[in-house]
Point group: C2
Chain length 376, copies 2
């Protein structure tokens, strides 16, 4: 269509077709710098999790700002990042199927610093066989369950057994331990979160000591999140933080509390969804053009208007949200464009193909979310 380009390349923020994902460039840069500076001071390596943004432009900015590498959740995300020239990549989810192991080996050939996690002897044996038959060296990291039983081997003996098995192959190299405890990131209350993260990492650090006692050096202990960035970085032996959401922020993180109070606002809300009021036929109600396909819905709370008080959002299907105008801080009328804070940033970003990067009323850039939908 001859007209597509003009509609997709808005100059002003108000011309962006809604619903759309906005990134406030000033706030984004503050988040980018704040985490980089903090970890630099603490002498902790940073490997930000790109599953949050799925955007090679952002990954490169994180690397320019000192990150040692990036994390991705899946092989297909790694493929996108490698195609964009990014080399230092840890894939944080287990890879077990034969066809994906073949794909992993093919990527490792292009990208010798690629890291893959293992938590079970069977895939380790499959890694060995594939690496040897293709004559490709493969870097592996032992994933240890942080206590939420989602992924990772049990700490102690099972972790040592994996290290021992890995050492039997000349084609595999043991590069470290991963311990990510999903339940820690969103534990509400700083003290409770600190306790929870310390317990989780203790499992990894005891396993590290055991594995090293048997002669296998462990140089990297990687894990943690935005919620534990200033907790894990204090723990002796922890080497590398995987935080992702800090770059955008969301409502789920705001509620976890900080060491300074009931809300966590160590990072700023750089990410919003902009939607338009498309129907208004009833007093105290207004309908916007964003619903289940515009916001992730995995949290028990709904999107929140960025700058307007006294209004609540309720889901109204795939394409709609209804605003209840209890006591709105400003008039809301048909055609208004409204910005919302998102309940959960990662799966919300995964709904969109591009980030509109804005400063004041201008669109400064459009960054492709190149790994969107790459869940394989």
């Amino acid at each position: 269509l001859a007209t597509s380009k003009e509609f997709h390349s808005p100059v002003y923020k108000d011309e962006i077709p809604t619903p759309a994902l906005l990134l406030d460039l000033d706030l984004f840069e503050r988040n980018l710098n704040k985490m980089a500076d903090f970890l630099n001071q603490k002498h902790i390596d940073f490997r930000p999790h790109a599953k949050t943004h799925k955007c090679p432009v952002i990954a490169k900015k994180q690397l320019e700002r000192g990150a040692k590498g990036i994390c991705v959740a899946k092989l297909s995300e790694a493929e996108v990042m490698i195609a964009e020239g990014i080399q230092e990549i840890l894939i944080t989810s287990e890879i077990v199927s034969k066809s994906k192991i073949e794909q992993l080996i093919a990527l490792a050939r292009q990208c010798p610093s690629l890291l893959a996690v293992v938590d079970h002897p069977q895939p380790v044996r499959d890694f060995m066989e594939a690496a040897e038959s293709r004559k490709v060296k493969l870097n592996v990291v032992i994933d240890i369950d942080g206590g939420n039983h989602r992924a990772g081997c049990l700490p102690g003996r099972p972790a040592l057994d994996l290290a021992d098995l890995i050492a039997r192959s000349n084609w595999l190299k043991l590069c470290g331990i991963q311990c990510y405890a999903g339940h820690v990131a969103h534990t509400v209350g700083f003290e409770a979160r600190m306790k929870s993260s310390q317990e989780a990492l203790e499992r990894a650090l005891e396993s590290k000591a055991l594995i090293e006692k048997y002669g296998f050096p462990i140089e990297m202990v990687t894990g943690g999140s935005t919620g534990s960035y200033n907790i894990d970085s204090q723990i002796q032996g922890f080497t590398e933080l995987q935080a992702g959401s800090y770059i955008f922020m969301d409502l789920d993180y705001r509620r976890i509390g900080s060491d300074r109070g009931k809300v966590f606002l160590d990072f700023e809300f750089a990410l919003t969804v902009v939607a338009t009021v498309i129907s208004q036929s009833h007093p105290n109600l207004a309908t916007v053009d964003g619903g289940f396909k515009a916001f992730a819905t995995d949290k028990p709370f709904t999107p929140e208007l960025k700058n307007i008080t006294g209004v609540s959002f309720r889901w109204a299907g795939d394409e709609h949200g209804i605003l209840e105008l209890g006591d709105p801080g400003q008039e809301i009328k048909l055609g208004d464009r409204l910005e919302f804070l998102t309940p959960h940033c990662d799966p919300t970003v995964n709904l969109y193909d591009r980030l509109y990067v804005v400063r004041a009323d201008r669109v400064e850039d459009i960054w492709p979310i190149a790994a969107r939908g790459k869940s394989q």
Copy 2:
């Protein structure tokens, strides 16, 4: 990547990289035919809602099987369908911003049968002005609130006022009334749903009578859903069904009940998500590679294993789900590929770029979900 093609073009079902969206071709064709035959017998036009599948291949099959046209929810979906050669399109959501109205006019120039809904005088005036200035005729449908206050004007006088306003422009043509009541589709219990749908459509049919009394003919009354397909089709004056989900089915529809019992299985579960067990370190638990990015999460229930009893799924983050192996009907082990029924098909489909079309153990075809993410 030289290797990409081979990984993305699996020949056998077991080679599809997970998580992935599978379409069982036999069940799909039965759903396709059953609805077409039913509405044909009832002499009701069919305009299936493409917001469910976002897939031009499926839209064309629906048209070949006798559908009068298709619905889309958004302008950007219409753009995709028109680019694929589909002409008979109703956009079911209100369009109010100036830039989208310009885009609508540009599409109407290419596609003279395009239909847009209105529920407020201001956009009607904006439509008039844009249509006149571009010298393009625009077909409009008056959207009437079915009672859930999501979109649509109030029935009666406000609807008549819109008809009167539309008639003042030579560039607009009034083509009908839309009345979609989102709350009806999922009303549990056939009798309750029948009552609810009749009440909703009554509002539209009374408005039709009023508008026609003032000399404006209304040839089309469009609305309804998979949940009301055998209710609305019995209502005198209703002309066109917009059902979408019938082609795939989901857990939310199963629970609404039918005229024959407690579950609604008038259509079959043609759509599943296949995921792989990637971690299994704990008794009675297994972790699959699908979470919030693999399934829509807007319903209060979780995905369900297609053919295995005694197992429940719980969410475990963006990329993971945990299976609780209470009393599994078959052994579940590391590397197993498992098929899940989805809680809500439309927003789940919107997470994927392609449908793997399968018959027995083979991949028969891959259909692009070309309008995925087109929520604008």
